[in-house]
Amino acid sequence: MVTARLPGTVADAHSTATAAPDPAPAPVWRPDDEPSGWRSWAGRVVHHPVVLRLAQVPVVAFVVTIIVFLVAHLLPGDPVTQLTANVNGITPEEVAQLTSQLGLDAGLADQLRSYLVGLLHGQMGISFYSGASVSSMLADALPATVELAVAAVLLAGLLGIVTGIVAARTQGTWVDHLIRGGATIGFSVPWFVVALVAILVFGVWLGWLPILGRLPTSLTYEPTTGFVLVDAVLQGRPDLIGPWLEHLALPALTLAVTSAGFITRVTRTAFLDAQAQQWVRTARMKGLTESAISVKHVLRNASVPILTIVGLMFGGLLGGAVVTEAVFSYPGVGSLLVEAVTRRDYFVLQGSALVIALMFTGVNALVDLSVLAVDPRLRRG
């Protein structure tokens, strides 16, 4: 027995500890074995980063609502002028009557108050044009935008992380230079340029992919959840998936190509940083192969900055989605927003902006939570 041969104080302390008839249970592997106690548990919940993070979401929503309301109403031009632009011989009385009908004759503070009260009751107002409720318009448009954003993030993440790792592993070679150059070009070119080039090349010249809309008009589609993939399963409509992917391809690629460059660069740097750490040498000392070290050790350590940049990029991506949706006539929240701005359709504008802001904060909260899940050092205190 090894312990018996240990010299010095450690061995002595150790052997007395094990010699005592200790009723301790057999060693079991329990990953979440933590010292507990109700009081410390409650304290941890209140001060837990997750709780703190989620508590910020309503605050952000409120501030965004106020700002968007003010910006919308302070923009030059108003809905009534837009509505009556093509009506000949309209009298000032009729204009005044319309203004009053739309509730625009009240003071700004009153309008804001009644909008906020409505929001608290779950009412987001109606469109001045279609008369449809903003919440139903958003319910139709939001799934389309979520599909686009998720597809774009997945593509950009895959592209960025893979190229970033390849660049790090081939540091200093022509492969590395090529990838870094490509990444820089990728995030230097504006979305709409990429979108227009993509339409021209893949839609017009090659004719491979559809360039407008979310599904072909020839297909009848009755949304259940609004998410095509989910509905295709629920309704037993596999015929929806192909056309849906084809329509998603160009807008999602446009967004992905312009965002992947950042992820590439951050991944490369994070990977190189992690690779230079001392524990990589320990892993080599254990006889692990370089690829096992990359996957099991380095990537995990590099994932915190990568996750963070993907979350932040999601914000930029939503901004890009607004433009991209408009270019591809993709019926998402971005298209709604752009249309609402040009028409001064206040409630639609405010609702769309609020939804986008909530998506952004929601995703970033999610990213913060996954960072906590990845890095044990951040979990406490």
């Binding site: 041969r5 240990l6 592997w29 040498r281 320990t282 099991k296 990845v374």
Partner: protein
């Protein structure tokens, strides 16, 4: 412990050069070194003398496009200088292991310590994940970590430096290697735990007949643990021999200077500390 023991590792005329942007650095300049079964061979010298590079080179961890290694490191009938990387990899963890200087950074912060010990057992001893994790708990127990089952689930940042170094020792000795390179294993630790950690490491190594190359600048450590000692400076070994002989009757001026540089509690009060002479 005295008496001739068979050598496990024979280093002959080893040279290690690094190409840097400011020209070549000759870190090791033709040294010979023998590591014997179950014995501790101390490699002493000041910073930059090439001690750590020697240890890393035996492990095959200095390899790279900017490194040139010449000479021979004979181990198990082969020359490790000539061995290809996959062969070296198969030896590392299983037959050659190392304990590094700074335990604060030598463990992966993202993985529980139990998993990091289990990993070497899975890779090198072919254990299943289940068995390896149970063995990891036992190893933690053996390196003197209390409540090893709970400790296995904890992360490196939840341990003190001394405890982390015990974990690294558990990783290094998990597969009972033939050779252990310990690169200043206690330099980064509190003085109070240095002796505990060294007692543990040397005790476990002797128990499994592991040859230890103990890289250190602490002559007290040499006196207490080593059978053999080599004094290194500027990439060369100046003096070698049984530890008691070298420390008791140093032949080389540099060794004498090293010994004289140790501050004494019971010496004359106002005496200046003696610097290690740097001729040339």
């Amino acid at each position: 412990m005295a008496g001739p023991r068979p050598s496990v590792v024979e280093v002959r005329d080893l040279h290690v050069d690094f190409a840097t942007d400011r020209g070549p650095v000759h870190a090791v300049r033709g040294i010979d070194l023998d590591l014997a079964v179950g014995q501790v061979h101390a490699l002493v010298g000041e910073s930059g003398s090439g001690k750590s590079v020697t240890g890393l080179t035996i492990m095959g961890l200095t390899r790279g496009p900017r490194t040139t290694v010449r000479g021979a490191i004979r181990y198990g009938g082969r020359d490790l200088v000539q061995a290809d990387e996959s062969w070296m990899r198969s030896l590392r963890g299983r037959e050659l292991a190392m304990v590094f200087q700074d335990p604060m950074t030598s463990l992966n912060p993202m993985h529980p310590v139990g998993r990091q010990i289990a990993e070497t057992l899975q890779v090198n001893a072919g254990r299943s994940r289940r068995v390896a994790r149970a063995d990891a708990v036992e190893l933690l127990d053996r390196v003197g970590i209390r409540e090893p089952a709970k400790a296995a689930a904890r992360y490196p940042h939840e341990f003190s430096g001394g405890m982390r170094q015990r974990v690294v020792i558990a990783i290094a000795l998990a597969c009972e290697p033939a050779v252990l390179v310990a690169d200043e294993p206690t330099t980064a630790l509190d003085v109070t735990v240095q002796a505990q950690v060294l007692d543990l490491m040397v005790g476990l190594a002797r128990a499994s007949d592991t040859a230890v190359l103990l890289v250190t600048h602490d002559l007290g450590v040499v006196a207490r643990y080593a059978e053999q000692v080599s004094v290194m400076r500027s990439g060369q070994i100046l003096e070698r021999g049984p530890a008691q002989a070298v420390l008791g009757d140093p032949q080389h001026d540099y060794t004498r200077a090293l010994l004289a540089a140790i501050p004494r509690l019971h010496g004359p009060r106002r005496r200046r500390l003696s610097p290690v002479a740097t001729p040339g």
